[in-house]
């Protein structure tokens, strides 16, 4: 189970050629956890109702990126990076058979993100019927209807995080305006809870230093503390929740360990140290 460490940038959607450069630049800037994003658009029920079965878009398997030690040393990266894979599905109709077809492939990714364009799709995402979703990334370019406050609050309760990308903001003023409007709506509905900030960088030049991103959080209606949380602790939570969902959320295993009779009883004063004891003495890792 890969856990996130340090500053996180959970959306790097670079094409295959620029991917290595972008990831290396992100790691050398200061991010320690990076997620490589693949975007898939579900167009199957958009235009015509009758379509051939072979027209479904393909979902590629997770990309693998190998960074040799020389690369890391060249760019001055001292801390060990954590590289995750992520898939973003743009999704409009809850009745389409897209998800059930590709469920196996989607589950191979570490983080699953959805971009719902209609309210029905958002409802299905939040209620988690087919696939367990970790991040809802609302696309500012698609002018959907206003999302219901109850659904957003339900998502917050279920540990689903909302993503705001600052990459499009750098490019043109239209997307800047729409992203900020989106963040204001989120602030109204759910008091800016569970918001993470990501870069959606396609080229290395779209990346910004973590502390710059924290200052940019002011635009998104976040306070200084909330902005830092958005790239650090909440992103760690996203990765942790995603990993737990992959393993099986509602499953719990009890383990009985026989203690040595030699150990004195004073060692077990206070059950809070039981986990630490088990970790160190029996050599079991997560």
């Amino acid at each position: 189970m890969k856990l996130a460490r340090g500053f996180c940038d959970l959306n790097i959607s670079a094409s295959d050629e620029d991917l290595k450069n972008t990831v290396l630049k992100a790691l050398s800037i200061g991010y320690q956890t990076v997620a490589i994003n693949r975007e898939v658009i579900d167009n199957s029920t958009s235009e015509k109702k009758k379509r051939k079965k072979g027209d479904f878009p393909m979902v590629p398997p997770p990309p693998k990126l190998e960074l040799s030690e020389e690369d890391l040393r060249q760019h001055g990266i001292t801390r060990e990076p954590v590289i995750l894979t992520r898939i973003t599905v743009t999704y409009s109709d809850p009745g389409s058979a897209f998800l059930s077809k590709f469920r196996e492939v989607i589950k191979q990714y570490d983080i699953i993100a959805f971009t719902p364009t209609t309210e029905g799709a958002l409802k299905q995402t939040v209620c988690q019927t087919l696939v367990d979703v970790d991040i809802i990334s609302l696309n500012p370019n698609e002018q959907g209807a206003r999302f219901a406050r109850k659904l957003l609050r339900l998502a917050v309760e279920r540990d689903i995080y909302f993503e705001l990308s600052y990459g499009p903001c750098i490019l043109n003023s239209g997307s800047r305006q729409r992203t900020i409007t989106l963040s204001h709506i989120l602030h109204q509905c759910s008091r800016s809870a569970n918001i993470i900030v990501t870069s959606q960088a396609r080229v290395p030049s779209h990346l910004r230093h973590p502390y710059d991103v924290m200052n940019l959080g002011r635009f998104f209606g976040l306070t200084e503390g909330a902005a830092k949380q958005a790239i650090v602790s909440l992103s760690h939570n996203v990765v942790y929740c995603a990993a737990s969902r992959r393993k099986g959320a509602a499953k719990c295993v009890a383990q009985v360990t026989f203690l040595d009779t030699d150990t004195p009883k004073s060692k077990f004063d206070g059950l809070g140290n039981a986990r630490k004891f088990l970790k160190t003495n029996t050599g079991i890792s997560d």
């Binding site: 406050r149 003023s173 729409r178 900020i180 204001h184 109204q188």
Partner: protein, 114 residues
């Protein structure tokens, strides 16, 4: 309960010639003025809840609704409007109401007095 509060600016359009303005023209002029003064942040902060609700050409009175926080951005940008729909005009704020009904009552009183 959470309620999206709005403020309604009661404005009077002042133009030298008797020119025909449209509701769209006023909306675009206000957005442009906010963009000039407060930039992209101003435009996107005022977009939810921004409408030209009532527009009367004969009395030159319009009601502009804005959200309660960002209403100060719009209120500070309204005096800087120099033209509406291509023709030179300016905007004068008469009243800031919390509901349409109170705005109408105020307009009725001022009309009766003058």
């Amino acid at each position: 309960m959470v309620r999206f509060k709005k403020r309604y600016c009661v404005v009077e359009l002042v133009a030298e010639n008797c020119v025909y303005f449209g509701r769209d023209g006023l909306q675009k002029a206000v957005v442009e003025a906010v963009k000039r003064l407060h930039g992209d942040f101003g435009v996107s902060a005022t977009t939810p809840g921004f409408h030209v609700k009532y527009f009367n050409i004969k009395t030159r009175i319009a009601f502009v609704s804005v959200g309660r926080g960002p209403h100060q951005l719009v209120a500070s940008a309204l005096p800087l409007i120099t033209q509406i729909g291509g023709q030179p005009a300016s905007v004068r704020i008469i009243h800031l109401a919390a509901s349409m009904r109170h705005g109408f009552l105020f307009v009725k009183d001022t009309m009766r007095r003058s």
